[in-house]
Amino acid sequence: MNNTLSLKHIFFVALVPLIYLILIISLFTFLDQNKLVEILTSERTLYSLKLSISCASIVAITSTILAIPIAYLLSRNQFYMKNVIDTLLELPLVVSPAALGAMILIFFNTKYGKYIQDNMVQVVFSINGIIVAQVISTIGISIRLIKSVMDEIPIRYENIARTLGANSFQSFKTIMLPLSKKGIMASFILVWAKSIGEFGATITVAGTMPFYTETLPIAIYLRLSSADIEGAVVLILTIIAIGLLALSLFRFLSRKTIL
């Protein structure tokens, strides 16, 4: 069978990427080269960049650490209400980010939420709020991705390890974890990339305080609100570059997820 695509098929396949490309190229019509360096090196942009990267990193680490054991338990066990738990994990996919943010905000205005804020940790309108909003938005995806990788690994490997003297934790550590390593890394990067671009839940929970809770997407929104198109374009290009880099890494790693 001939696997070469004809020109019209190539055009059809390339249609959507072409639209994205046109959108990216159109950004350059508003790109002011003089402003580029100025905005990129401004203290406010650098703060937003640093905040976005730091929060995304913390979120990716937290989500992955929480997702690995949950994904493993879901992958290896059958139990009552498993389907309900599975469905609930997809909540962030069906609820809009702003609604999810509003749900978090409402929770922290309940008796229990207030108790947490008063006695444990301030979440609303703080950097903690960014992390909480983004972890809640991404952990479901992380669990689903890691679980799908773990589902592909035959349980026999762990069974053999057990009969060779490894306890359940040792077999998880020496067999399951290394075999799903690339999948976990791919999930980490995807969560990180999604967190970098997360806007709806973040702005609802953490607000828009410059030099405090202003992440890159929020900075773009604020510049657009004040009609600073050139400034917004520079930040958009920055976020695109970071996102594409992360996604390329994700694609590279997920290509060889299973050994």
Binding site: P154, A161, T163, L164, G165, Q170, T174
Partner: protein, 354 residues
């Protein structure tokens, strides 16, 4: 010694029922049975990967029914995915040592030498042949200190000649390291050459155990005979202490196994195709007063590697009997479809089936 006492395990619509068996130490036990008969399930129960709903497993006089797999010291080698794919050969065989925190073990060097693994120690496991995979898996289990090995269809992917080679190698290793091996397979070929005991597991039930030091294997159960591919299974009823009437063949058979003292009792019996002899014309006078002779003709002939497979139909009866006739004897008689022949079955060669 492993003692299975009244093991019962139910999984969905399948269950292992009242499994009672003793696996003698330092012997090779083969469990034969068709696919889906519960062989893997039984190994997983012995290995501790599944807990039976009822019954006990006694290992070296200790009840291990609820003991964790890592505490049993019984190695399990499944049918596929035997080796850890992220570790090379050396890392695979030293897995158990690493778990125990042992870095160097002189004994493991001897074992790798003995199992001819030394040249492939640094090889990726994806690049090993079927035989090498099994040898590495064996070495890993022996190095782990397991004296009991559970093998699930280890030769399923082997070519016939490689299968025999591996089985004989396995026998040698078993003797050298005094291992107890419990191997399950659906493949009858080859296993008789290495087994000390052969037990049949069919539809979740254990049937007869055959001690391979006995000169001749004879099925005692209908299910076993069917699994062994014996087509000559007939129904009849007892007419006297040594006679069965078989209405299908319209014949009375004289048999030597002791019959129950119950006249007219319905009974199943079988005859192995290789135990049926064709009476050569020049020797006919030798059989004038011998029982169990049938006249008929050859309906079909199929040539096999070592024998002809004949479908013999007695005169006026449409009930075929399968006969294996050695190719080495084919010069003594010309056989063809439609030829009239006479056959004889020794009373000793008819076996009763439960």
């Amino acid at each position: 010694m492993i003692d299975l006492k009244n093991i019962h395990y139910k999984a969905n619509n399948f269950f292992l029922d009242k499994i009672n068996h003793t696996f003698e130490e330092k012997k090779i036990h083969i469990i034969l049975g068709p696919s889906g008969s519960g062989k893997t399930l039984l190994l997983e129960i012995i290995a501790g990967l599944r807990t039976p709903q009822n019954g006990q497993i006694i290992y070296h006089n200790t009840d291990i029914t609820k003991l964790l797999p890592e505490k049993r010291n019984i190695a399990y080698l499944p049918q596929d995915n035997v080796l850890f794919p992220h570790l090379n050969v050396k890392e695979n065989i030293s897995y158990a040592l690493k778990i125990k925190g042992i870095n160097n073990d002189a004994n493991s060097l001897k074992i790798t030498e003995k199992l001819q693994i030394t040249p492939i120690l640094n090889r990726n496991v994806q690049h090993l042949s079927g035989g090498e995979i099994q040898r590495v898996a064996l070495a890993r289990s022996i190095i782990a200190g397991s004296k009991t090995l559970l093998l699930d269809e280890p030769t399923s992917a082997f070519h016939y000649s490689l299968k025999n080679e591996f089985l004989h190698f396995l026998k040698e290793i078993q003797k050298d390291y005094e291992l107890t091996i419990i191997m399950v397979t659906h493949d009858i070929l080859g296993v008789f050459s290495i087994a000390d005991y052969i037990t049949f597991l069919i539809n979740g039930k254990l049937y007869q155990t055959f001690n391979n030091t006995e000169p001749k294997f004879t099925p005692t159960h209908y299910e076993v005979a069917k699994f062994m591919g014996i087509k000559n299974i007939f129904e009849g009823y007892i007419s006297s202490h040594d006679k069965i009437i078989c209405p299908h063949l319209n014949t009375a058979f004289t048999i030597h196994p002791t019959l129950p003292d119950k006249k007219n009792m319905n009974i199943k019996f079988g005859i192995k195709p290789e135990d049926i002899r064709i009476i050569l014309p020049e020797k006919k006078k030798n059989y004038t007063n011998t029982p169990n002779q049938l006249k008929g003709n050859i309906k079909k002939i199929y040539r096999h590697f070592y024998h002809y497979n004949l479908l013999f139909v007695p005169h006026n009866i449409e009930y075929p009997i399968e006969i294996h006739f050695p190719i080495t004897k084919s010069e003594k008689i010309t056989l063809y479809e439609g030829k009239d022949i006479e056959i004889i079955i020794k009373p000793n060669d008819i076996f009763l089936l439960i």
